[in-house]
């Protein structure tokens, strides 16, 4: 198990390097010089040249990349062109907002969509199933900026219940979290439903029923464990995305998170900040994917068992090889 985790962590390095090369090349190959962006369109050519020199703008691309990676290994992602502050601190300042928003949204999604999904799977083709299916379709089809605006108009402008914009207090997180959650609730609910139906059809369900296990226990203990794997994967992927910043939701609600930071950095062509944000997103995504994979073991004993078997096989194989080699000598 530990070896597996370690292997996966090591594998993340080439992935991140690959991403960094791609992003770095794309950004560096687009035109526009940084000093002009920093100093404005009326700065003198001398000042522009000097600053570009200082920033290493005239170095060849591979040199620039190697320098960037060298700094990166020292935990230095460079300084934002726009504000001059370090990229690490810019991201660190905004991460709590995004973390809170994503966590809140994923908790909402899980607590609402999984029970609902199980419920409609049991009550297949009932009135409730149909209504919830239609609702799910409606929410899936809604663009998040629109849903966000509507929630804001109803709960902030119309009812004066919740604040419309900002991220000062917990109340500020309710509407944006629901905006993110409502869109994935539909998705996760449908997925739980189909996955549950699949599980309920299995032979061991019939066996369990035949043994006289209570229906509740069948559903919540036997079926759900088997049904949950694809659901967890999807939720994990969604969470990974959200941690990289929900660009649209954060912008609509005027929140200061990774999403708005990324958007702003792209708009102002703040290269170090764009690089930092994208790398951060990739890192978050990789870590969450790994955690999701590991959680399979906790949920499904068959997979947990496999980690062990693989290792045993490995040892067995090595032993066999050793035997062969001793025989030959």
């Amino acid at each position: 198990m530990h070896r597996y985790v370690l292997k996966r962590l090591v594998l993340m390095i080439p992935v991140l390097i690959g991403i960094s090369i791609i992003i770095f090349s794309i950004i560096s190959l687009t035109p526009g010089n940084p000093a002009r962006l920093i100093l404005g369109d009326r700065a003198s050519q001398v000042a522009i040249d000097e600053l570009n020199e200082e920033l290493g703008y005239y170095d060849p691309l591979p040199v620039k990349y190697v320098n960037y990676m060298k700094d990166l290994l020292h935990g230095d992602l460079g300084n934002s062109y726009r504000t001059g502050a370090s990229v690490v601190s810019e991201i660190a300042v905004r991460f709590p907002t995004t973390l809170l928003l994503s966590t809140f949204a994923i908790l909402l999604t899980a607590t609402i969509s999984i029970p609902l999904g199980v419920y409609v799977a049991i009550k297949k083709n009932s009135m409730a199933d149909n209504i919830l299916t239609v609702l799910a379709l409606i929410f899936t089809a809604m663009p998040s900026f629109w849903l966000g605006m509507i929630l804001m108009l109803v709960f902030a402008v119309g009812l004066h219940l919740l604040p419309a914009t900002g991220s000062e207090s917990f109340a500020h997180f309710i509407l944006p979290a629901f905006t993110i959650a409502l869109l994935s609730i539909a998705q996760i609910m449908r997925m739980t439903r189909s996955s549950m139906l699949e599980a309920l059809r299995q032979d061991y369900m019939r066996t369990a029923r035949a043994k006289g296990v209570k229906e509740n226990k069948i559903v919540w203990k036997h079926a759900i464990r088997n049904a949950l794997l694809p659901v967890i994967t999807t939720m994990g992927v969604n969470f990974g995305w959200a941690l990289g910043g929900s660009v649209i939701t954060e912008t609509v609600f005027g929140m200061s998170g990774i999403g708005t930071l990324t958007l702003m950095s792209v708009r102002s062509k703040d290269v170090p900040l764009v690089m930092g944000c994208v790398l951060f997103m990739s890192l978050m995504f990789s870590v969450i994917t790994l955690l999701v994979d590991l959680s399979y073991g906790a949920i499904d004993p068959r997979i947990k068992a496999q980690y062990g078997i693989k290792n045993k096989n490995h040892k067995a194989l090595r032993r066999a090889k050793e035997d062969v080699s001793t025989q030959n000598s």
């Binding site: 687009t30 035109p31 526009g32 010089n33 002009r36 962006l37 100093l39 404005g40 369109d41 009326r42 700065a43 003198s44 050519q45 000042a47 000097e50 600053l51 726009r82 504000t83 001059g84 502050a85 810019e90 300042v93 905004r94 009135m127 409730a128 209504i131 605006m149 804001m152 108009l153 709960f155 902030a156 402008v157 119309g158 009812l159 004066h160 219940l161 604040p163 419309a164 914009t165 900002g166 991220s167 000062e168 912008t251 609509v252 609600f253 005027g254 929140m255 200061s256 998170g257 708005t260 930071l261 958007l263 702003m264 062509k269």
Partner: protein, 501 residues
Amino acid sequence: MKVKRLLALLLILVVTLAGCGGGGAAEHATDSIIIGINSDATALDPLHINDTVTMSILSNVYEPLVRMTTDSEIVPALATDWTISPDGLEYTFTIRTDATFHNGDPITVEDIKYSIDMAVESSYTGPYMNFIDHTEIIDDSTVKIVLQYAYAPFLALCTTYSQIVKEDFYADGGTMMSKEPIGSGPYKFVSWAQGDKIVFEAYEGYYAGTPDITQLTYKIISNSTTATIALETGDIDMYINVAAADIPSLEANSEITLLKEPSSAFYFIGLNMQDEKLSDIRVRQAIAKCVDRDALIIGALDGNGVKTTTFIAEGLPGYTEGFDPLPYNIEEAKALLTEAGYPDGFEMTISVPESRSAHAQMIQADLKKIGINLKIGIVESGAFWDALENGDYEMMIMGWSYVVMDSDVGYYSLYRSDDMAGNYVRFSDARVDELLQNGRISTEASERAAIYSEIEEIVMNSAAYIPLYWRMDTIAFDAGLTNIEIPPCGFYYVYDYAWEQ
């Protein structure tokens, strides 16, 4: 059955929620204001910024030598009085001695010398102040600034670029000044949550007395529609740069005041004079004569612009009411083009950033009338500026703005033959160069008016740049706020604002 119960529950929930919200908009505190801005400040150090949003904020935090009123009049600030030598080279300022920095240190003539010297040296503010030769301290309350050449807009530039700082505050290399600055103006720094808000409070030691509004908060809301909603719910009290799409709903709201005024930013077409076809003045004039500005303003800007046929703002030296040397006329445009040897027109490309693609479409339709087949090349803004600097385009649309209200700012960079940061069409005319130089040096108002009239006549007839419109500045604020006007250069000075009692 269950569904019905669920629906009933929902209904009850909605009704309860509606009941809770019966209170209506919250009452406003009369000593605070929250202003929505569309992007965060870059840094809070006046020597290391050059974007309008930050400059607008800092005009409240640092005290300049002189200030400009919303009527473009220059009034005393740190300098109570000033005299100008007859040759226009030396400005002697009398400095008040009762002003202090926010940490209580008195503002001395040494600080003023340091601030002006640094403003000249900085790569950010230098381009606007580098005509200053040096600063001399005469006595404890007198400072003399000597210019390299007489430069009429100097005082106007001082309203923005003479903000006073202290050398000691930069002891750590400038980190403190850019993040948690000690200022010298009416508002004192409190906190800055990056990307979220910046908070200031009135400085009790301000020499002119504390303002009515003692709590000043800037809240960053990049999306105009979100800001509109925030304004309606009272999350913010004022929003600068309202987008055209949000104007109707704000206009309809009686609790909100909407101000709409032409700004000091102007937009125009540029024709690359190094291009073979466009080097012919007749071709350029033909293009100028077939641009329908009224249609463009309606089609591309929803009517939020004021058409112009000059770059000189009303009230500035050289402004002539109704000046229009190349009025809209398709027949004459066709004749000019035929005369130039293109009776059937030709094909060319207009380069514009994404934000001005609608402009390009309107102009494309105009040029079709005289046979010019215009192709639209939408480029990313970095690429756009590169193309302009390298002269690698045929036709383009760009904007320019008055950082200070003076005709020199409008014309010098655009038309001076050796100015590479502005003269993107490569305009070159010996007479214009001479006039531009004279306009800078002359301090006589009537003489300057004559100079800029002559420049205007030459450059507008040459049609290297074709003026289109003045951008409309739109701000919206709570109807309970008074004394708010749109300032000429976009620097909102909160000191004057107040809530109605």
